[in-house]
Amino acid sequence: MGLGIAEIGAMVGGLIRLGRPLAVVLTTLCQLFDGTVKGYSSSVLLLDRTAARVREAVGPGLPDSYMKQLAAQDAAPGFWLHEVSPILSLTGEPLGIFAVYRRENNTGVTRCHSALMQQFTHVASAAIEHMRSEEALKRSAALLERTQQLSSTCCFSWRVKTDEISWSKELCQLFELDPADVPVTLDLIGARIHPEDLPSFQEIIERARGGVSDFEFEHRLRLPDDSVKYLRVVAHRTSDQEGQLEYIGAVQDVTHRRHTEEALAKLRAELARAARVASLGVLTAAIAHEVNQPLAGIVTNAGTCRRMLAADPPDVEGARETARRTIRDAERASEIVKRLRALFCKKGAASESMDLNEATREVVALSLSELERNKVMVRMELAGELPRVQGDRVQLQQVILNLFLNASDAMSGVDDRPRQLLIRTERDEENRVRLSVRDTGVGFEPQGVDRLFDAFYTTKSGGMGIGLLVSRSIIESHKGRLWATPNDGPGATFSFSIPGGAQDMTAGVSCARNLGAVRTAAVTNAEERHVRIP
């Protein structure tokens, strides 16, 4: 056999490419050596990573029993250890030992050159190194796959210049793409993206092409069976080996989380509305009951009075008495109304010095998910230096939240322009702090501005029509003003301003807080007066 070392290298390389196990490759190598150098048998001892133990031993020309004991380095009967050469990695790390034995019956016809030994050792080293890196790669790929499964995350890379996209197998499954559909293209991805999310997705892609740093966003997929998945994408900007812009990123399937959140938000909204309707209903009934009592007296007395005067002869004295009672009952009714108003606006509640910007940011943070769900883009322009205001933090935040939700609702039907919400705080000439909420919603007719603040006036199908009324009463109790203006373009702007700086706020802050007290009283009342029909 007169194979040159180049041919041997090619043969061994071919086996490796075919994915044959290392033992097979090394056995072939030994056979090739044994065939080239007659009268000698070769073996390879493969060391483990610590280089302290033999991991595998191949020596096709040597007896099995001997190979089993090779660690002990005892020569088998009839074999003379001829030469041993360490197999080293490129970095000099010991990988194994190439050992050549001279057969007893070798009369020295063939010579074993050290140079040949070196060449075989070199091929063995290349084979072992390749296998090792292959194994490491497989292990890390397996680890990655496991990790991806554990965290429901998939990964990708995107070379921006060439639009080359590498995807994990899991990502193909997530997008329900056939892994055979490679290469994955942006068009292929775009076809799966929910049509409503496509514009923002494309916008992000364009921004990324411009080389923004990292990006993060959520979007939905609409799959061929019309089912919808929610994905969260996080990408990190980096460069590939050629120094070209490349993003590597992770995609997480957050569908389950989203569904839970949505169900929770819906439930919360329903609960809030139910509570609002219930307490308002109870409150209304309690007020009606209180006022109807004297009204009944008035109507009865007036009726009696008329009858007494119509009698023949007229009972003037009786009529005068019933008229007196009518007036007395009317005064009583007016007294009840006065008392109710006092209840609604009791004086002397605690108030605190607060930063309206901070309060606004808290409300934005709280309502952001709701606003995002309604596809509302929120922009904040908060004044740098804002005087502190004195007031009831919770109440003012209720007003702000109410303005946000109104704005969001006003934009819910808007599809032909961006749904933008601009929140601005500023200080005006009179040291008052002003907050305005500008939307691009349906707006209102200029002549309709007065009705906006009427009780029970609403343009929303699910609305109660008391939000703005209560908001205005809160702002007025803070010695402030709440008003609405139509925008030059689409939408409306709702603003309030309250005095800035320290001031005496012992009076009138707790109007809406006492509403809670009235409500509680009304509920108790209603329970006390609960009608039992046998």
Binding site: L295, G297, V299, T300, T304, R307, G318, R332, V531, R532
Partner: protein, 129 residues
């Protein structure tokens, strides 16, 4: 010669004083004799239960409610026609009270005509004013 016709007795049970004050005058104008009570318990304790031909009864009262009184009267075998009067304008309340064989259920404030019609229904007559 005048014949003394005994006027039928209508009892008013209501915790609201202005009702107890105004309603009897109107009822007398309409031709009834009247007794007013501030609670169901007070009415039951009086000597008027047997004589009462019609009961003008408030629904929501502290202590014994109007419906409680109706049930008590049924238990005692007193079949007095009842007209409920209530300041709680609630259609469900009205429907329930009528289901319980009340003659009528008037929401306060009610007109003298409405009261007159309800009384006529209670006495099963149709007379001109």
């Amino acid at each position: 010669m005048t014949v003394m016709i005994k006027r039928p007795l209508v009892s008013v049970v209501d915790d609201d004083e202005s009702v107890r004050e105004s309603l009897p005058d109107l009822l007398r104008e309409l031709g009834y004799s009247v007794r007013a009570f501030s609670s169901a318990e007070e009415f039951l304790a009086s000597d008027c239960v047997g004589e009462t031909r019609c009961l003008l009864l408030d629904i929501a009262m502290p202590g014994m409610t109007g419906p409680d009184l109706q049930q008590e009267l049924t238990v005692r075998g007193r079949d007095i026609p009842i007209i409920y009067i209530t300041a709680q304008a609630d259609e469900i309340v009205r429907a329930c009270s009528l289901e319980q064989r009340a003659v009528a259920c008037l929401f306060k404030p009610f007109s003298d005509t409405a009261l007159f019609e309800a009384l006529n229904a209670a006495f099963g007559v149709s007379r001109a004013t």
